[in-house]
């Protein structure tokens, strides 16, 4: 069974969002999503200063077999993008909740958590799929 850390929130399309002490939100994809994708070969991420929108595509990730959209769990502005992933996507596979983080976002509003699933709900989605 895939890990679902309790310290963050989830989008049904398998992205996570975690709030930092400074209010900045880090996003990435879940272990389940990473294992479904298989071996990764390419990722496209927005740069610093770009805006992302809740449930809208913010980038693309490509495995040996196919291209998949990355959807943002939050609306806001990109503060930092994990540039090391452009060279090697292995951290996404090996450490999806930590070193495989993708973007740091300054939230557009404080209510972003309301639209996301809590860990228990996401876990039950995984169990029922």
């Amino acid at each position: 069974m895939s890990e679902v850390p309790a310290d963050r929130f989830y989008l049904s399309s398998h992205e996570w969002a975690q709030e930092g002490d400074d209010g900045v939100v880090t996003i990435g994809i879940t272990e389940f999503a990473a294992s479904e994708l298989g071996e990764l070969v390419y990722i496209e991420l927005p740069g610093e200063g770009e805006d992302v929108q809740f449930e809208q595509q913010f980038g693309e990730i490509e495995s040996v077999k196919a291209v998949s959209a990355l959807n943002s769990p939050i609306s806001g502005q990109v503060i930092e993008s994990n540039a090391s992933l452009l060279d090697s996507q292995e951290p996404i596979t090996d450490s999806p909740f930590d070193e495989g983080w993708m973007l740091k976002i300054k939230p557009a509003d404080d209510s972003w958590k309301d639209q996301l699933m809590n860990p228990a709900d996401y876990e039950s989605q995984l169990n029922n799929s």
């Binding site: 298989g38 070969v41 496209e44 490509e62 040996v64 077999k65 196919a66």
Partner: protein, 368 residues
Amino acid sequence: MKKTVLNSAHQRHGARLVEFGGFEMPVWYSALTEEHHTVRKQAGVFDLCHMGRFEVVGEDPVTALDKILTRDVSSMKKGQVCYSLVCQEDGGILDDILVYRLPDRWWLVVNAGNRDKLLPWFEEKLEGAHIVDHSESLAMVALQGPLAVGLLAPHIERPKGRSLETLGYYRVGAATVNLTGTPLQGWISRTGYTGEDGFEIYVDSEHAEAVFDALVDLSDDVHPCGLGCRDTLRLEAGMPLYGHELSEQIDPISAGLDFGVGLHKSTPFIGQSALQEIESRGPQRRMRGFTVDGRRPARQGAAILHQGKVVGEVTSGSPSPTLGVAIACGYVDSGIPEDASLQVDLGRQTPDLKPHPLPFYRRETEKV
């Protein structure tokens, strides 16, 4: 979604299952690249039960087949296997198939996704013959890779004491398969879709799972392999895939499959005059191979550009585990020279395409 008789075996072996050709099939068990290298260097086991296995029965199956297949099947010898196209009147490809001439009968192996389309078509077009569909009752599994012949030979008995080693490439014969503790009567052919030496084994479906497991257990060097690596293996080997390089809108001349068409064979076949015309005026587009600059693979449907204009389309593309670069093939307008500068439209990027001869990979023994 349909399942093959090996579905539970795939689950036991930890497969990730996806839809292919209307069937739930393993895309990989461990990881695509690992399985790809297993087949190139060792041996891999594939479930091919999703493919259609048709027997052609009737008074004169040879003549009936000769009228609808692009190859001259009347010249096939007993025990020979032959690649052929099935075309429409306009030369568009309905399927690419293998024709098996067994000692006393004729078989066809067709693509999974075309089974339902071809059955009624054959029934309508075959004169004095008809199809018996054995796809469910007869299983088909493959062992592919350089170790296949050595690992399999001790378990295969052939008529008149002939060894498996003496079965030639694209040859088929009766076999007693001693893999499961009980001798099984079946067929074996030295064929495959990987660019490696290997075999396809045909036994009654009730024994499929035992045979599949026994093949996987032949050695620690053998692993079950999914359709994911089958696709990268065939792409490296320059073999077309229906729905990618081949379709009803594409003819075999444009696809570079001239070898599979008896353009001037004595028995006229469906599509012959259209194909002769395409051959004489030259196809408007041709299949070409490329490596893609940069890290990102080009995928089916990506536009091929020359001086900013669309001059072609990618039909298949993937990272090549053997070459270590992204490879692609696709159709390019015939007027575009081989050395023209080409790019591929990948959205934000338009990386260069470098021409690469097809196939991308040839196994050692094939090299002259």
